[in-house]
Symmetry: C2
Subunit: 459 residues, 2 copies
């Protein structure tokens, strides 16, 4: 019995050990994945540690034993240091200005009430605190204030409240307000310096890349859709097919992310490719029409697994038109994404949009002709629906192109280089290589080169 029990204990211990090890391995794997997805996360973490050390060193060597205001320096670093420079600047600015304003107002409130006596003073002060806290809290519900000044409002309420009710004499209050302002400024300045000087992350750059990436994803999905829907793929097609096809899904819910990046970007100083008054709001406009396109692609995606075995001549004609619309819209979107990335005028997308549009027109006239009389409509209904949604997608692509043209002209993108314009490119293949080199996205070559003949065939 003893032996059995012991062996059971050992087994239990062993199982638990295995489980623990498995958990640890899982944990380590997800930590590595998180870091690999965006190595700037690791850098950001080290930057926060570094800033804290800098501020702590200051604090450790000048501890000011009877004075805990310096705690605010540490607090400021932890609360203000954000991932991007814009977010850090925004929070720092909010904290600084709110502290200054609230400190001044609280000092004023103290001057106003100090002669009201032992009963009047706390009552009037309490009323003032109540009023400012209620009004400021209500203002935090305004969407515009919430987006840019929420943190400032919090700091304003906090600073005003604790300074005005601190029950201190004039000089002590002035000292308190001043010390708080100083420590907050030192902490904020440390954050901003480290944020800008050590591997800075610019929200504006991120927004720019995100919009370009989203449009590229839509393009890839559309190209892949043309391929997948008509089961044209050979064995050598892309490996991460599913991933490319469903790339558009991340565009569906990107609104909040784009909005906060645009907010942060507005705080950032003019920098390199993004001069003063760079039109960040126009990126949001592009993002909105890109999402509209993504909704259409989501509707299309419902037909990927639809019954579609008909292979009559008519179906083939619809298929061909769909393939052209889908692939050409996809290419146009990828050219547009490239135009954003390289900041050139998006003229190279026009030819693809024209091809997609003329294919839509061809399809319409095909439908007008009399070839429908002897076919079973049910068998081409999926095709007709896909074609119809794709005509809608082509319209969306035009809208995206239009919004990017507006962005390009307002932001004064440079005009397209000769090597990138389609007229100078002698073969589709060469263009694909160029695209794939710049986008760092090898699968592009396979899809495009495979479908290029079909495109030229229909011209």
């Amino acid at each position: 019995m003893v032996v059995a029990s012991g062996s059971r204990d050992k087994t239990g211990f062993f199982t638990q050990g295995v489980k623990l090890k498995a958990n640890m391995v899982d944990m380590a794997r997800s930590v590595r994945k998180l870091g690999q997805e965006d190595p700037r996360r690791v850098v950001h973490s080290l930057k926060v540690g570094l800033t804290l050390i800098l501020v702590s060193a200051f604090y450790y060597y000048y501890p000011l034993y009877n004075n805990f205001y310096t705690i605010w320096m540490v607090m400021t670093v932890v609360l203000v240091f954000e991932f991007s420079v814009g977010a850090t600047l925004g929070k720092g600015f909010n904290r600084g200005i709110a502290t200054l304003l609230a400190g001044g107002l609280a000092f004023g409130a103290h001057q106003l009430t100090k002669n009201l006596g032992r009963v009047g003073e706390p009552i009037v002060l309490g009323l003032l605190v109540f009023l400012q806290a209620s009004i400021s809290t209500f203002f935090r519900f305004f969407p515009k204030i919430k987006a840019s000044y929420d943190y400032g409002m919090l700091i304003f309420i906090m600073t005003f409240s604790f300074i005005s009710v601190s029950g201190l004499r004039d000089d002590a209050i002035f000292k308190l307000a001043l010390e708080r302002l100083c420590t907050v400024s030192i902490g904020g300045a440390a954050c901003i310096f480290v944020s800008i000087l050590v591997f800075p992350v610019w929200a504006g750059q991120d927004l720019h890349n995100l919009i370009a990436l989203n449009i590229e994803k839509l393009g890839n999905s559309l190209e892949g859709f043309g391929d997948e829907y008509f089961k044209r793929k050979g064995g050598e097609a892309c490996k991460d097919d599913k991933e490319i096809l469903e790339g558009y899904k991340s565009v569906l819910n990107s609104k909040k992310c784009e909005e906060s990046l645009a907010n942060y970007a507005a705080w950032e100083p003019p920098l390199g490719r993004f001069p003063f008054r760079h039109p960040w709001k126009l990126y949001l406009k592009v993002g909105t029409v890109a999402r509209e396109c993504a909704y259409r692609i989501e509707a299309l995606n419902g037909y990927l697994n639809a019954d579609f075995q008909e292979s009559s001549e008519v179906s083939n004609l619809i298929q061909e038109a769909c393939t052209i619309m889908s692939v050409e819209s996809g290419k146009a979107l990828k050219e547009l994404a490239l135009a954003i990335k390289t900041m050139v005028q998006p003229s190279s997308a026009d030819s693809h949009i024209d091809k997609a549009k003329s294919s839509a027109e061809n399809l319409k006239s095909l439908l007008k002709s009399g070839i429908w009389e002897d076919i079973d409509l049910l068998k081409v209904i999926a095709g007709v629906t896909v074609a119809s949604i794709l005509i809608d997608v082509v319209t969306c692509t035009e809208k995206i192109a239009e919004s990017i043209r507006e962005l390009a002209s307002t932001a004064q993108f440079k005009s397209a280089e000769p090597t990138l314009s389609p007229e100078k490119l002698q073969s589709g293949q060469m263009k694909c290589v160029k695209l794939s080199q710049i986008l760092n996205c090898p699968h592009v070559v396979i899809i495009v080169s495979e479908l290029t003949p079909a495109v030229f065939f229909t011209k």
Copy 2:
């Protein structure tokens, strides 16, 4: 000249005055609108003011002149008090636990390093602060931690840093850690009490209502779509037509809002209709399929202004099928929304879903029949596309019904009351009144009663 200049000055002054007044009026109007949209915002603002007064009174009468820890009480209130009880509890819990943990660890770090001498101590302490800040900051990037424990991580970094580098002796550190814990607890407790006792806002209730409202909006849009697309409306139709039709648009981007409400709801105590372990995650599942349906409706919306003047017999048949699918799906969704609101089993929606499905089947067999031979396909292509997307919408509606059924059975909704089940309702009108009473949404009556004959006609 003098007179002229004077009059110009006066005019300028007058214009400025008018502008200022216009701005003030605009401001007042938007403040009123914000309050009217959700009066709980006003209540919340007053609650924050009240809590701050309570804490300030404590602070004012026991100012502890040489001790500014009490500032933390004010800080805690401003930072922890959130709109809903769940968010407040979550933040309070985060702040409390993080302070306790970090205080303990910082005390341990101090014990560990106090014998290392004047050179070794600050170096090892600095290294520890750097390590914990970097690691904790990195962990904040984990989506799960970001969702529920982000604030706790911040407080942990902050508390550990400033206690461990405070340069104080053992007893002073112990006192510092203890005082911080006490003040944070008092502030947090004040927030939680006021949040729960004075007109509480429950995140769980909000999530429940939001999901029901979103599904109702989808239903209204679909019903309105059946109306609008086929231009059947008379002069007496709903006034806020456009608003109802585009109600689904707010569903497209509701993901973030639903997720944060579900997060907050998990912190809330069991309450009334929502017992312990209420399946909040299932609401998110319903929300996801509702969004999928909204994407389809967005695609449908593109055809609202499409060319559709054909009025042949075939078109009429497609129109009728589309109207039935759209209206019945809409009704089913509204029944489902009502089932969520009243927390009953959603069986009353089944008959509508069945009608929508049988209409889809009818349409398919219609398409199979030979009536297509003498028509111009181009003229019915919009109709065919709409029909096809609507068949997809019916599938989505079924998915929504399924997810709500799962929610209803997991959350043990009560079975449908006899007065609510469609079998017992003698007339559609009576049901509409019931619906509109419960949903507090008068336009429902008009739409449903107008379309009811068409539905019965086709049975």
